[in-house]
């Protein structure tokens, strides 16, 4: 199964053969990889007997996969999506913003589209953010750890899918 589809950044009206080689390409996360990342996070949540919403988003912050484990508070759906989106579109763990606010940069709360709460972790391939995982459910530390457990499974999941392709 193809793990990554190549997307050509759209340039309209180009003459195909001459220009194709110059267009940048990006790698895209597949649903299969997202499932493996979420499964790893779910295993960690179960190990700790936690309830949680686990979300995997693409590099634009849009959900690819979401699962709310039984008995998880419903508010965690939006929070989980927000954390994942933050990690994806700001290309860093959402904890960075939580720390900024804690350290006095209250202005970080005004960032558009950001959920400055730990528990969102980017998924990185070849140095580029291809998506993110967000977790919300119980304590901030647990959310962060469960998200990290998911992100840690990303490399193996990608390799199992046949590696990256241009």
């Amino acid at each position: 199964m193809k793990s990554f589809r190549t997307i050509l950044y759209s340039a309209l009206f180009v003459i195909a053969p001459a220009v194709r080689a110059e267009l940048p390409v990006k790698k895209v996360m597949t649903l299969n990889v997202a499932k493996k990342i979420a499964a790893a996070a779910e295993a960690e949540a179960n190990r700790r007997h936690l309830t949680a919403v686990i979300v995997v988003v693409d590099d634009g912050g849009y959900p690819l996969l979401l699962q709310r484990l039984d008995n998880t508070q419903v508010a965690s759906v939006e929070v989980g999506i927000g954390k994942a989106r933050t990690a994806a579109i700001f290309r860093r763990p959402s904890k960075d913003f939580e720390d900024q606010v804690k350290d006095g940069r209250i202005a970080a709360l005004a960032l558009p589209g950001a959920t400055p709460l730990q528990g969102g972790v980017p998924i990185i391939l070849d140095g580029k953010v291809i998506g993110a995982i967000g977790v919300s459910g119980e304590s901030p530390k647990d959310d962060e750890d469960v998200a990290k457990a998911g992100a840690a499974a990303a490399a193996a999941a990608i390799a199992a899918e046949g590696g990256s392709r241009e």
Partner: protein, 281 residues
């Protein structure tokens, strides 16, 4: 697998328990496993039609439980599918009903809060009770969104399962490499079995093997004592050989039935040895 959970909705707080009973209503809602089953059914339908799509499942309060976006589906589909599922749940009707109402001229209806009047959202019912809803966006057409959602909503429909038909070419191909033809492992399975050499001793603690020999000759040992028998999967043991037991020579046209729990061992086979097996629970 537990696919529903019952919740007791509080109608009166601080009431004394025995008196309160009549003041609570029990409702069923999907569990995570149930939500996955809905998604799997919708994804299977999408694969069948070779289309993309995002599938969202909400519980009986309209809260998102699970979502999957099939590769290649546009990103906006994620939010639209959630909106359709939520609308179907909160209004207890397929969203197509509202799309039709709006299209027929009741435009003011789009002003409703949190309302996605686009076809592709369908309630999921069990025993006449709505337990959740499924929303689909990003298939090839609005009509197809609706079809995938319906396929998901039917995941719990009782009634007989569909008929399975395997044309002879498919059966022949299955015997050529030896494979599972039909897997309904909680009830029965059909294997197109092929052996090219002797096997290990086997014990299936839940499955009986009903065998019809199609080709070749085998020495089959049943009963006796399985040596070094170890669990390899749920309800499955494999061992080195069988000591003692009954030995039979099987050839084309023979039928043998090995009840669950009886050790058996294909001690010797001609290559190939082909046999049709029904595994029954």
């Amino acid at each position: 697998m537990n696919i529903f959970k019952s919740t007791v909705a509080a109608a009166a707080l601080l009431s004394i328990a025995p008196l309160a009973q009549a003041q609570f209503a029990e409702t069923k809602s999907l569990t995570m496993d149930g939500a996955r089953r809905v998604i799997d059914a919708a994804v299977a339908a999408a694969n069948n039609k070779k289309t993309t799509g995002v599938i969202a499942v909400v519980d009986n309060g309209g809260n998102l439980m699970a979502l999957e976006r099939i590769d290649g589906t546009f990103a906006a589909g994620a939010n639209i599918s959630i909106g359709k599922a939520r609308t179907a749940l909160l209004f207890q009707k397929p969203t197509k009903v509202f799309e039709d109402i709006v299209n027929k001229g009741r435009t003011a209806m789009v002003a409703l809060d949190g309302f996605t009047p686009l076809q592709g959202g369908v309630p999921v019912s069990v025993d006449g009770q709505i337990v959740g809803a499924v929303g689909v966006s990003g298939a090839a057409s609005a009509q197809q969104d609706e079809e995938l959602a319906m396929a998901g909503a039917k995941a719990f429909e009782s009634g007989p399962p569909p008929v399975s038909y395997f044309p002879k070419d498919q059966v022949k191909a299955a015997f050529a490499k030896g494979s599972v033809l039909f897997d309904h492992s909680d009830k029965y399975m059909v294997h197109a079995s092929r052996r090219e050499q002797s096997g290990m001793s086997e014990i299936h603690t839940k499955d009986a093997d009903i065998v019809y020999v199609l080709d070749g000759i085998a020495t089959l040992v049943t009963g006796g004592t399985a040596v070094n028998s170890k669990p390899i999967a749920a309800d499955e043991f494999r061992g080195e050989r069988i000591d003692g037991g009954e030995t039979r020579l099987l050839s084309k046209g023979d039928v043998i039935i090995i009840p669950a729990g009886v050790p058996h061992w294909f001690k010797e086979v001609t290559n190939p040895f082909l046999y049709y097996v029904v595994k029954a629970r």
